[in-house]
Structure formats: C-alpha cells, structure tokens
C-alpha cells in the first residue's frame, strides 16, 4: 500500500462494487483518493468499466441445430379429459357476468347507433363516441355470445351503409382487422369448446369480441370522407 489509506486490493474491490451502484460516501472518498494517486488501480477501474460495457453488448447465441425434435420426443402425450356434459359446467359467477354483458352490449350498441345516425346526417364536426366499455365481462355462454353477435350485426349494418363515406385506405384496414379478429374468435371459440369451464378462455373470447365491437364502433363513428 504505497499510495494512500487503502490497499490496492481493497481499492479494486471498491471500484468493482461501484459499477453496481453507489458506494457509501466514506468509501467513495477513500477510493477516489486512492485512484488519484495510483495509476495501476486507475487502469483496473477503467478496464472494469469497459468490461461492463462489453458484457452488456454481448449478443444472444443460437444453438447449432434445431432442438425442437429432441424436445417433442420427450414430451408426454397430453391427456385430454373427456367431458360428457359440455355446456353445464359454467361457473355461477360467469353466468351472472354474462347477464350483465347482455345489458351493457345492448346499451352501448344503442348509443352508438344514435350517434352514428347523427353523424351520417352530415354533422360537420367529429362526434365524440361513447366510451368503450372499460371492464372485462365474461360472456362465454350462448346468451352472452348472441348479445355480442347482435350488437356486431347492428354495427356492421351501419358500417356497410357508410362504406361510401369512408376512404379506400380506411376500408382496407377495417376489412383486414375484421378478418384477423374473426380468425381469433374462431380460434378462441374452438379452445373454449374443448374446455368450457375455463374462465381464462372465456375472458379471452370476451376480449376479442370487445375488440371487434370497438373496431366497428369506431368505423361507424368516423367522420365522413369529404
């Protein structure tokens, strides 16, 4: 320890530690005093900082071969439980929520209809749309789904009549989005058919239907092209 109050070994340890967060003031002062006087430890501190930077930049590595087949061969065959009674396993809470959904979907569809009608009547200002239903509602029974489908049919009708008002780009995005959403609905409905008791899947289906409603609703509310 030729330079100051702490030994080089200790100074280097502190320099390393400082890379991970602040040192206590007293320790920092000791370290700085040492570094000011010791070129060796300054070099170490600089290198450690460079090393840290280089480490953060290391790229991800990839295996030399596809490992999936080896994995797939080791996966136990899934046991698919047979469900004798498919539709009767809905939890009561889901049922109650479904009933709520029927009412809310009907209400928002009605509101949208009124505003869309007004906007179709050449309102020059963009119309503030009704707020999207914020909370998640599980509607994974036939009644809930039917309510959604009703509202959707309603909105589709409005949008179909407005097609002439909308520009080509908007219509293209709208159609693509609807296709994607319908695909997701089919996928989700299939999963739910295999596992009707799953609230996760029910909520997911609900979310996808919400996306569809929101999309159609916004299309119905878009100000006219001209």
């Amino acid at each position: 320890m030729t330079h100051s109050m702490i030994a080089c070994e200790e100074a280097q340890r502190l320099a390393s530690e400082r890379l991970d967060g602040a040192l206590a003031a007293a320790q920092a002062a000791l370290l700085d005093a040492h570094l000011a006087a010791c070129a060796d430890c300054r070099a170490v501190a600089t290198d450690l900082a460079r090393l840290r930077t280089a480490t953060a930049r290391l790229p991800a590595l990839t295996p030399s071969r596809d490992l999936w087949d080896g994995i797939a061969a080791r996966l136990a065959t899934p046991v698919v439980p047979l469900r004798a009674t498919r539709a009767t396993r809905m939890r009561p809470s889901v049922r109650r929520l479904a009933a709520a959904a029927v009412i809310m979907v009907a209400a928002t569809a009605g509101g949208t209809w009124m505003i869309a009608t007004r906007s179709a009547n050449r309102m020059s200002q963009p119309v503030a749309g009704p707020r999207l239903r914020p909370q998640l509602v599980a509607v994974a029974d036939q009644k809930g789904i039917a309510a959604y489908e009703d509202a959707i049919a309603h909105l589709r009708d409005i949008v179909a009549r407005r097609r002439g008002d909308l520009d080509a780009k908007t219509i293209a995005v709208l159609d693509t989005n609807l296709k994607v959403i319908d695909h997701a609905i089919a996928e989700c409905a299939a999963a739910l058919a295999a596992d009707p008791a799953s609230t996760v899947l029910a909520e997911q289906l609900n979310r996808v239907y919400d996306a569809k409603l929101a999309l159609l609703r916004s299309a119905a509310l878009l100000p006219s092209h001209t």
Partner: protein
C-alpha cells in the same frame, strides 16, 4: 381528415400460448419454444461454458417447462418464469457435476496470478468474441455469479438464494470473475 383504425395483429388477440400449452397444446408449446429458445440457450451456454452440454440442458429446460406448465399461473410473464426454471435446471445439473469436474475452483487462489499484469487498456471493439471465450474459461463458481449478475441482471440477494450462499460470498465471486476476465483479455 379521417382517423384510420390501427391495424391489429392476431398476436394481440390470440389466446396466450402459455395457457394453451398448459392445457396440452403442443403447437402452442412449440411456438413458445421458438420464441424463447435463443434466450434460454444463451443462458445455458454461458452458465456451463460448453455448447454441446448447453444444447442438452436447453432441451431439459423445455421438457421440464412442459411438465410444470400447469403450475404456471400467468401471474409473472412466461419468459420470466421460464428463465427462472432454466437457472434451476442448470444449477441442479452443476451440483451433480461439481463433484466430478471442478476440483480447483476453491476460492481466491488464482487472484494472485492476475494482480500485476501489464497495464494495457482493454480495446472494446474486439472484446466481444474474446469475452465469450474468457467467460467460458472462468472457474464454474465465478462464472455462474458473473453470468447471473452481469449478464442476466439478477441481484446479489437473488443469486445468493439460488446458489445457497451468502451475498458476501456472491459479491466476492463477482469481483473475482471480473478480475479474471480482465486478466484474460489483457493477455
């Protein structure tokens, strides 16, 4: 001017693959594998320092994930859950190999060897490739702590819990690893 509806993608709307996989959907699980394999393999390589062994361990990790997926509740992100699982798989493997392989990973003995090398600053640009090799050459104990802390971003407390050591020992190993890497790269 019309506000265009934003394009949506199926990924935003589809059922979470982890949920599907937990219910036995192999195709969903394969998608999860494709999404996460690079990150898991990278962790394994750096933890064990050998590509071939890392490939085997990566497979072990995904097989284990498949078996335990039912326990994944979707509270954490799947990637985080899988990463933790991978760390466990690697560490358990190391515990079994420790007896066989690392007889000279005994602490701080090699610190002396690197105290007073020549003082030449490390050149960053060429550091990347050498750095991988230098990490692989670290003694296993120091390598694990270095990878978990400096690369994977776990805290000393988390690492100490994973390794079953005190966080003081963990810090010492990290410093040791960094000094060894510096020495290796300055050579």
């Amino acid at each position: 001017m019309q506000a265009l509806p934003q394009p949506v993608t199926l990924d935003q709307l589809r059922v979470d693959d982890a949920v599907l996989a937990a219910r036995g959907d192999r195709r969903a699980f394969e998608r999860l594998y494709r999404d996460h394999v690079a990150r898991i393999f990278t962790l394994c390589v750096r933890m064990v320092g050998e590509r071939a062994r890392a490939e085997e361990l990566t497979q072990d990790v995904f097989v284990r994930a498949w078996e335990k997926l039912e326990q994944f509740r979707g509270n954490a992100a799947f990637g985080t859950w899988l990463h933790r699982l991978a760390v466990n798989v690697v560490l358990n493997d190391r515990q079994s190999e420790k007896r066989r392989r690392d007889r000279h990973d005994d602490g701080v003995g090699d610190m002396d060897a690197l105290s007073h090398g020549e003082v030449r600053p490390l050149a960053l640009p060429e550091l990347g490739i050498d750095l991988e090799a230098a990490i692989a050459a670290l003694p296993p104990g120091a390598r694990q702590v270095f990878v978990l802390h400096d690369i994977e971003g776990y805290t000393h407390e988390e690492i100490a819990a994973m390794l079953g050591v005190g966080s003081g020992g963990c810090k010492a190993q990290l410093h040791r690893a960094r000094m060894l890497l510096r020495a290796a790269l300055n050579r």
